[in-house]
């Protein structure tokens, strides 16, 4: 897997866990309950969810690397401000890139791109991990947490869009109508509730339920 084996292999077991753990055991959304707000709001269409997941992953990973690289020179008293500036700068860059290259997605994500700044996952990982670890490990940790967040987003978006609009919007493929017209002719109707934020809560709750019943050790006392 890794080509440069010097001291500690790049993808040692410990490092691999940094990526895989946030997908399940310590998932930022379902276990740490961070970043819920955007998970509720940008999951109406699959393409929005995918781009949002990508944007958050990029920001967590890059933010982690930058802060980790600077961890020995950041003055302790203003470290939160420094973190905020780094995250805000990264988010603005992401926002500008979206506006230039995927204009439609940037339009439908609207304020939520800017709100990545306040996504608790990012500040949480900077404080808890990047300040005390080396850049490479921090990058993996950021990547893992971003992907963990993205995984939940994609699952939620899948159910919301299929049940709410009977379709899936995949970037590059356009809108795929999954529910056949024959079903509509028989009286089937799209469920409008699934287009609204409350339905995400229901789906996230079911996700947590399934996840915890498959991993009994996640259940608290």
């Amino acid at each position: 897997m890794s080509e440069t084996v010097k001291r500690e292999p790049l993808f040692s077991k410990k490092n691999r866990k940094l990526i895989t753990d946030p997908l399940n055991q310590i998932n930022p959304v379902t276990i740490q309950v961070l970043g819920i707000c955007s998970a509720l709001a940008v999951t109406v269409q699959m393409d929005n969810a995918l781009i949002m997941a990508l944007a958050v992953t990029a920001v967590t990973a890059l933010g982690n690397v930058v802060i980790s690289a600077m961890r020995n020179i950041i003055p302790g008293r203003i470290r939160i401000i420094v973190e905020l500036v780094v995250v805000a700068a990264l988010v603005i860059i992401v926002d500008q890139i979206l506006k230039a290259y995927v204009y439609d997605v940037s339009k439908s994500l609207s304020v939520f791109v800017g709100l990545i700044i306040t996504n608790c996952i990012i500040m949480g990982r900077l404080e808890a991990f990047a300040l005390g670890n080396k850049p490479w490990a921090s990058a993996l940790d950021g990547l893992g947490n971003g992907l963990g967040y993205g995984l939940v987003l994609i699952v939620v978006a899948f159910f919301k869009e299929v049940l709410g609009s009977g379709a899936l919007t995949i970037p590059g493929l356009g809108k795929l109508h999954l529910i056949p017209q024959a079903l509509y002719d028989m009286g089937y109707m799209n469920n409008g509730l699934f287009l609204l934020p409350p339905s995400s809560l229901i789906i996230v709750a079911i996700y947590i339920w399934v996840q915890k019943s498959r991993n009994p050790d996640l259940i608290g006392e």
Binding site: P75, R77, I78
Partner: protein
């Protein structure tokens, strides 16, 4: 390293350097991506205008395509004020100058509404006669008209902007050469509820405006969005269920804007 990381001097220097570096970086990114972003915005506007004509050729045109063929369809750009006086009249030979604020293409519909119309509406509090008088007095409100010539037929694309349930809504309506009959429409919004109010961007809603008229004999009659399923005459279109307030917003903005164009076409039959 002998630097004291907790000293005030170090903290201040660090903060200053960081702000300068980050500021420079952001300015650079913004400057280098600006042309692409502006092209997106312009192309989208062209796409909206072309789609509203309601002819087969521009139906479902993509954004990039719209930017390329815009000049093939739009032959003249006019800007009028509430009284119907022409403020700017550009032919196809004069390319769009970004600095010319009166050029019909440079009129920002949402800004027109939020900056100039909304304060007047707040002041007049629903009194229609007062509102019309105040709007007439205001010199800041502009109404763009795009003239399209296609296969020997003339079309006029007019615009409207207002407020839906949550935020701004706006749209383009294409009027036939008689100055009354609608030939096509496009609506867009900033933040209407997904799946409900946001459906004003859908084709079935916009297609419903085709063939409707804004005149009743010699009187102006706006087009109204009704409750879904109601019986429709030539001034009414089918509404969206669950989006009553967005529909009301569409009614208000059409009523307020279309009368200006109606009077203009009536008083200037040479168009």
């Amino acid at each position: 390293m002998a630097i004291n990381r907790e000293s005030n001097v170090y903290t201040i220097i660090f903060a200053t350097v960081m702000v300068v570096v980050v500021g420079g970086l952001l300015a650079f990114v913004s400057m280098s991506l600006k042309p692409i972003q502006q092209a997106n915005i312009d192309n989208e506007k062209m796409q909206n205008i072309l789609q509203s004509i309601g002819i087969e050729e521009t139906d479902g045109i993509t954004r990039d395509e719209a930017g390329k063929v815009f000049d093939n369809y739009i032959t003249r750009r006019l800007t009028i004020n509430y009284k119907g006086e022409i403020l700017s009249d550009k032919s196809i030979k004069e390319p769009i100058d970004k600095k010319d604020k009166l050029d019909a293409f440079n009129i920002d519909l949402r800004k027109e509404y939020s900056k100039f119309v909304k304060p007047i509406m707040n002041k007049t509090k629903g009194d229609d006669a007062k509102l019309a008088a105040e709007l007439e007095k205001s010199e800041n409100i502009h109404f763009p008209i795009f003239v399209c010539e296609h296969n020997g037929e003339k079309f006029y694309i007019v615009s409207a902007s207002g407020k839906g349930l949550w935020d701004d809504i706006w749209g383009y309506l294409c009027i036939q050469a008689d100055g009354e009959t609608v030939h096509g429409s496009v609506f867009d919004h900033k933040g209407e509820t997904p799946g409900l109010g946001s459906k004003i961007t859908e084709k079935w809603f916009q297609d419903d405006f085709k063939g409707k008229t804004i005149a009743d004999g010699t009187e102006f009659t706006s087009i109204h969005v009704l409750k879904p399923g109601a019986k429709l005459d030539t001034h009414q279109v089918d509404g969206i269920s669950g989006a009553t307030f967005t529909g009301k917003g569409v009614n208000e903005m059409l009523n307020r804007n279309l009368i200006v164009y109606y009077n203009f076409f009536k008083n200037n039959p040479e168009f």
